[in-house]
């Protein structure tokens, strides 16, 4: 819908006022990217010998794949107008399932990964069932299932961190590199491009967007709203479990608590990402840029030796600014329509 709005000014290219508006729209699309480059420039100027190095950037790219994939998983239901608060718990449970099955029960790592993905799929199904069949708001349902999953995680792990996951997974996640960057980055990039393709070039993606923008309008237009929301919940669960697989592969272990702390950063990145590339819409590339903007800022602050609480200021501030900017975009769209 927003594409229809943003397309209209460009069709009247001859009018200077429209030309300026078009420029501003383009500027808005790439504002976050520009902000990212500015952050790189500022830290690069302050600490060129440390910050402007390939090891630094390869580390930045390689270490945030889990957060990128979790954020991608989050924006799928958000696009369809649902919210998934269980996503970080799915990540945690998936990584724990791998640890328990691989270390505790001697399953081959491939089978353990398949089981972890199945956990994500089942959780998506559970979320969809309660949200769609009982017509309970997704926020409440996923809050409940997330808490339930945390209980399951503690139960199957006996509340312990389990180490010793097959080193092949660690190799395939962070130890093997291409162009100096761990493979985890390329997995995240591939998933982002896949999601971009689905959102932008398939009817499935367009329908999800329509459902998110107005369920009744979508229903009256003949879009199978319930099915679309179900698919989005399932996809969200699968993405979260893939993030869980990489989370386990990053440290070769799984603990029952720490993954849940990725919830706020994922939301911050999702909302921040919605202000760029396709402003006003949750979009994969925007989310990826947002994750790397946030982590670039944090890395720069760390390199300067700034206290870690400043990182919270940075994350929290970015979230508020993102929501404010999204609101601004929405306001502009409404005024244009």
């Amino acid at each position: 819908m927003s594409e229809a709005v943003t397309a209209s000014p460009s069709s009247a290219g001859e009018n200077p006022r429209h030309g300026r508006r078009r420029f501003l729209l383009q500027l808005e699309r790439f504002a976050l990217l520009i902000a990212w480059l500015l952050i790189i420039a500022v830290f690069g100027f302050i600490a060129p010998e440390t910050f402007l190095t390939w090891p630094n950037f390869s580390t930045i790219f390689g270490s945030q794949a889990v957060l990128v994939i979790l954020t991608l998983g989050l924006i799928i239901p958000l696009t369809a107008g649902d919210i998934d608060l269980s996503i970080a718990q799915v990540l945690t449970l998936s990584s724990m399932v791998i640890a328990v099955l691989n270390v505790g029960h001697g399953w081959p790592i491939g089978a353990a990964i398949a089981a972890a993905i199945a956990v994500g799929l089942l959780t998506g199904l559970l979320n969809a069932f309660f949200t769609l069949y009982f017509r309970i708001h997704s926020l409440i349902v996923t809050l409940g299932t997330g808490t339930f999953l945390h209980g399951v995680t503690l139960w199957i792990s006996s509340s312990r961190t389990i180490g010793g996951i097959d080193w092949g997974l660690v190799n395939a996640t962070i130890l093997t590199r291409f162009l100096g960057i761990p493979l985890a980055f390329y997995y995240a990039l591939a998933l982002a491009l896949l999601l971009l393709y689905v959102f932008e070039f398939t009817s499935l993606g367009r329908k999800a967007l329509f459902v998110g923008r107005g369920r009744e309008v979508a229903r009256l237009s003949g879009i199978p709203v319930t099915r679309m929301r179900l698919i989005c919940f399932l996809a969200s669960g699968v993405f979260a479990s893939i993030a869980g697989v990489l989370y386990a592969g990053t440290s070769g272990s799984a603990d029952p608590n720490s993954g849940t702390q990725l919830m706020l950063p994922a939301f911050a990145a999702a909302y921040l990402g919605a202000t760029t590339i396709s402003p006003g819409r949750f979009n994969p590339l925007g989310s990826m840029i947002a994750v790397y903007l946030l982590v670039t800022g944090i890395t720069g602050l760390s390199i300067l030796g700034i206290d870690t609480f400043v990182q919270d200021l940075f994350y929290g501030g970015a979230l508020v600014i993102a929501v404010a900017l999204s609101q601004l975009v929405r306001g502009r769209e409404e005024s244009l329509t």
Binding site: F45, I46, A47, T50, T53, P55, N56, T59, G62, S63, V103, L154, S158, S159, R160, T161, I162, G163, G164, W167, V170, I174, L175, P182, T250, S251, G252, S253, D255, P256, N257, S258, G259, T260, Q261, L262, L264, P265, V295, I298, T299, S302, I303, L304, G305, I306, D307, T308, F309, V310, Q311, D312
Partner: protein, 363 residues
């Protein structure tokens, strides 16, 4: 220069380096200290023998752990109740999930049900000071076990069962100095929101101050930020100073975030990790060579030591100044003794089992 200026302007700089001036480095003493903690622990009585069964008859105690779902606090609490049962008195484990409201509820329940002692087994008991005052006024003994080192006791009315955290800090620093032959460039990762961190940090500072050619930086990452901040912060520190050769995470729960940081910055060849706690999954990392050393303390031994100290409080015996819980160094040479895969309280020997039972008059 620019960096220093900006950091100073913001007033946020916390990472600091100390090229310590100082006393001469006694490598032989360091070697002896490390060797002493590599020997299989023996039992040293923390006080005089007493008849635990008769003096504890009719008394009851409650433990309110930080979280029953956390391996260490939950595990110690559970073992304490089992040990008490064996002795013959009531010791209840108030199940919690890390929520302050549950801790308060537990203490209130101990007060209203007229328990004799309540133990808050958590990293920072100071958050329960008002409830501790209430318990004290109601005549209960309120204990903060395992929370503090000898140099930073929990404030009154809490009674302490100290652990020698300062010594653990010393051992980590001594290990780094010994292995680098006096040229350690250390990144010590602390969590200042944890009460025992002060003592651990004091131990590291004390030893590093004696090493003229050593450097140490302290990086504070609060416990709640470990999952989201630890890895990126450590990565940045390694990139900022490529001469760092040792990372000392003061708790081994940090290791799961530090190991990937070392791998991602391709620093594994030059940077070693030495830490404290002896969690089974970190001992597995020691077995795999990802972590070089982990100072362990046995959960079961700790539980015995706490029960012993608390029984003495309730029986009117002289208080335990040092519960004599051993710190045992695990490295590549002995990590297998913890089991494959490593198990809780395994590898420390069993000298304490008969030692405590004789001390309590059960054998």
């Amino acid at each position: 220069m620019k960096t220093k200026y900006l950091a100073g302007l913001a007033g946020f700089a916390i990472v600091f380096s100390m090229a310590a001036p100082a006393a001469a480095l006694d490598m032989e003493a360091i070697k002896a200290s490390i060797a002493e903690h590599q020997k299989l622990p023996t039992f040293t009585p923390p006080g005089e023998p007493f008849d635990a069964k008769s003096c504890m008859a009719g008394k009851k105690a409650m433990v309110v752990p930080f979280s029953s779902a956390v391996e260490f606090t939950g595990g110690v609490a559970t073992r304490m109740t089992e040990i008490a049962k064996e002795i013959g008195f009531q010791y209840d484990h108030y199940q919690t999930q890390g929520q302050p409201s549950q801790w308060i509820q537990g203490i209130n329940q101990a007060i209203t049900q007229r328990y004799d002692l309540v133990d808050v087994l958590m990293s920072d008991p100071r958050v329960l000071a008002p409830q501790a005052m209430q318990a004290d006024q109601a005549g209960l003994k309120i204990v903060a076990a395992h929370a503090s080192g000898f140099d930073t006791p929990a404030p009154a009315p809490f009674q302490n069962v100290h652990i020698d955290y300062t010594q653990a800090g010393r051992l980590m620093a001594q290990w780094a100095i010994l292995k680098t032959e006096g040229r350690a460039n250390v990144l010590a990762i602390v969590a200042e929101d944890s009460f025992s961190a002060n003592s651990l940090q004091n131990g590291i500072k004390e030893v590093m101050a004696e090493c003229e050619e050593c450097k140490v930086q302290y990086l504070n990452v609060p416990v709640t930020d470990w999952a989201t901040r630890m890895q990126s912060t450590v990565q940045s520190a390694l990139l900022r100073d490529p001469s760092i050769n040792y990372i000392l995470p003061i708790y081994d729960g940090m290791a799961q975030f530090v190991v990937p940081a070392v791998e991602l910055t391709q620093s594994a060849d030059r940077v070693k990790i030495a830490t404290f706690n002896g969690s089974p999954y970190v001992l597995q990392l020691v077995q795999q060579g990802e972590v070089e050393m982990d100072i362990g303390e046995s959960i079961d031994w700790v539980a015995h030591a706490i029960v012993d100290a608390e029984m003495r409080m309730l029986c009117g015996l002289p208080p335990v100044k040092d519960p004599k819980v051993p710190l045992y160094i695990f490295d590549a040479s002995n990590a297998h003794t913890a089991g494959t895969p490593p198990q809780i309280s395994t590898g420390y020997g069993d000298a304490y089992l008969s030692g405590y039972r004789k001390l309590w008059g059960l054998q």
